[in-house]
Symmetry: C2
Subunit: 220 residues, 2 copies
DNA sequence: AAATAAAGTTAGACTAACCTAACTTTATTA
DNA sequence: TAATAAAGTTAGGTTAGTCTAACTTTATTT
C-alpha cells in the first residue's frame, strides 16, 4: 500500500508526462516545482519509487511511470474526479471549491467506496470541470481538444471543459454565466490582440486571448 | 492543524475517559493497548499533546483531555458518525463494513464538507449503530442506557443501539433480523445462565447473557 | 569547443511517529 | 511493611519525508 505522499508523486508524474502539450517525460526539477518541494527531496523519493518499480529512469535521465505506476496514478485521478463530481452535484459545492477537498478524499483506500460512489453518481463520464473520469479498467472517455480560440468566425460551439481550474478563472466564468454545456457563438475576432466577441445566451461578451485559450469546446 | 495521529490519540482518550463504565481518567498503558502501540510511544506523544495543551496530566499521573482537546475529539467523532451514516444510508454499505472506511474519512479537513454532509443526510441524531452524532456545537443527542439484559420479563422494548460494533456481532444481528428500531419482547429469563428467550417479529429466539448485554434498548 | 547555466545527485541534518531495553515510580499483596 | 508486580518514563535507535549546501553531469550559448 502506497502512502499519500507516494500517490501524490505518481499523480504529479502522470500530469507532467500525460500532458497533451507534447512532452512525455519529466525531470526531477519539473516534479519539484509542481509539488512545491526541493529537487533533493524529489530525488530521494524517486529512488524509492524506482526501487518499488513504479517509475523508471536512469541517473541524470528523464523519468517516466511504469505500467503499474501509471495504473495507480490513474486510479487516484479516478477517485479525485469522482469526489469532485460528488461535491458539486450532491453537496452543492461550487466548482472552484472542490479541488482542495478532493485532494484529500482521493487518498481514501476503499475500492468498495469508489465503486459505490461511482454507482451513486450514475457512472459519470466527466467531472465538473469537464475532465474525463477514468473507468475502473483505466480507460478514459474522450477529452475535448478544440480550444475556443480556434473556433472559426460565426461558428457555434458548446463548452466541454476548462483547461484552467484556478478559482479565479472559475469564478469569472460563473460571473459570465458560462459553465459546462453552455452554447457559445463566435461573433467577431479582433486581430489586434486576438480577443473575441462572443454570443452567450442573449448577451454578448468580449474575452481575451488568454480566456479563449482556457476553454475547450465541442464542435457546433 | 493536528495530524491524523494526534487526532487518533485525542479520540482514543475521549473514548477511554468518557466511558460510561465509570472511569474518567486513562493511563499511558490504556492508551497504548487501545491504539495498538507501545507505552513508550504513547508517552512521547502525550508530552507533545500536553505541550500543545490538548491533554493534561502530571508525571506518573492519570491523563485527561483539556476543553480544547475534548472539543477536537468530539468533532472527529461527529465526522466519523456522519460518514458512517452516509456509507450505510446513501452508499448502502452494511453496518459491519463502515467503521474501517469512516476511520479514514473522519480525518478529512473541511468544515464545509462536514456541514454539507450533515445537511444532505438531513441532520441525523444517531448513526447506524445507534450512537449519538454530536451537533456542531458539541452537544450530543441522548444516548440509550438500558441494556436488553435489564428489561423485565414480559416487557417490550425497541433496539436503540449496539454496544459492541464488531463485525461478527453485527453480522449475527443481521442474521437474526435485528436492527436499530426492531421491537423485542422478553418472553423468558433463564436463571441458570442468564440467557433470555425473546419475541422478535413473529419468531422467538434464545440469546446469551453476553448478547443481552450488548444491545441497548428504549423502554416499551 | 570552452565557458556558463541548468538540471540532477550526494551528504548530512531535522521532525514525526514508531520501536526496544533499561530504569523509576506507584500499586498490590504476601 | 517489605517484596513484587504493574504502570510510567527515559535513552537511544529506525524510517519516511522533508531540508540546505556542496558537488557532478548535461545542456546551452557565445
Amino acid at each position: 500500500m502506497l502512502s499519500n505522499t507516494e500517490e501524490n508523486y505518481l499523480k504529479a508524474l502522470l500530469y507532467l508526462t500525460a500532458d497533451e502539450t507534447g512532452k512525455k517525460e519529466a525531470g526531477t526539477n519539473d516534479l519539484a516545482v509542481h509539488l512545491g518541494l526541493k529537487p533533493a527531496t524529489v530525488n530521494d523519493m524517486l529512488k524509492r519509487l524506482k526501487e518499488k518499480a513504479y517509475v523508471s529512469y536512469k541517473k541524470y535521465g528523464k523519468i517516466s511511470l511504469t505500467r503499474t505506476g501509471r495504473e495507480i496514478a490513474v486510479f487516484v485521478m479516478r477517485k479525485h474526479r469522482l469526489w469532485e463530481t460528488f461535491l458539486c452535484e450532491v453537496l452543492e459545492f461550487s466548482w472552484d471549491e472542490v479541488h482542495e477537498v478532493a485532494e484529500q478524499l482521493e487518498h481514501i483506500q476503499s475500492d468498495k467506496l469508489t465503486e459505490r460512489l461511482d454507482r451513486f453518481l450514475n457512472y459519470p463520464d466527466y467531472d465538473p470541470h469537464g475532465d474525463p473520469i477514468p473507468k475502473p479498467n483505466g480507460r478514459m472517455p474522450p477529452r475535448a481538444t478544440t480550444l475556443l480560440s480556434s473556433v472559426a468566425l460565426y461558428q457555434s460551439c458548446t463548452v466541454a471543459a476548462v483547461k484552467d481550474t484556478s478559482p479565479v478563472f472559475l469564478q469569472y466564468l460563473e460571473q459570465l454565466s458560462i459553465g459546462i454545456g453552455t452554447k457559445i457563438k463566435v461573433l467577431e475576432k479582433i486581430s489586434f490582440d486576438s480577443s473575441m466577441i462572443l454570443q452567450v445566451g442573449k448577451g454578448r461578451i468580449t474575452v481575451s486571448e488568454k480566456f479563449a485559450n482556457s476553454l475547450l469546446v465541442d464542435g457546433q
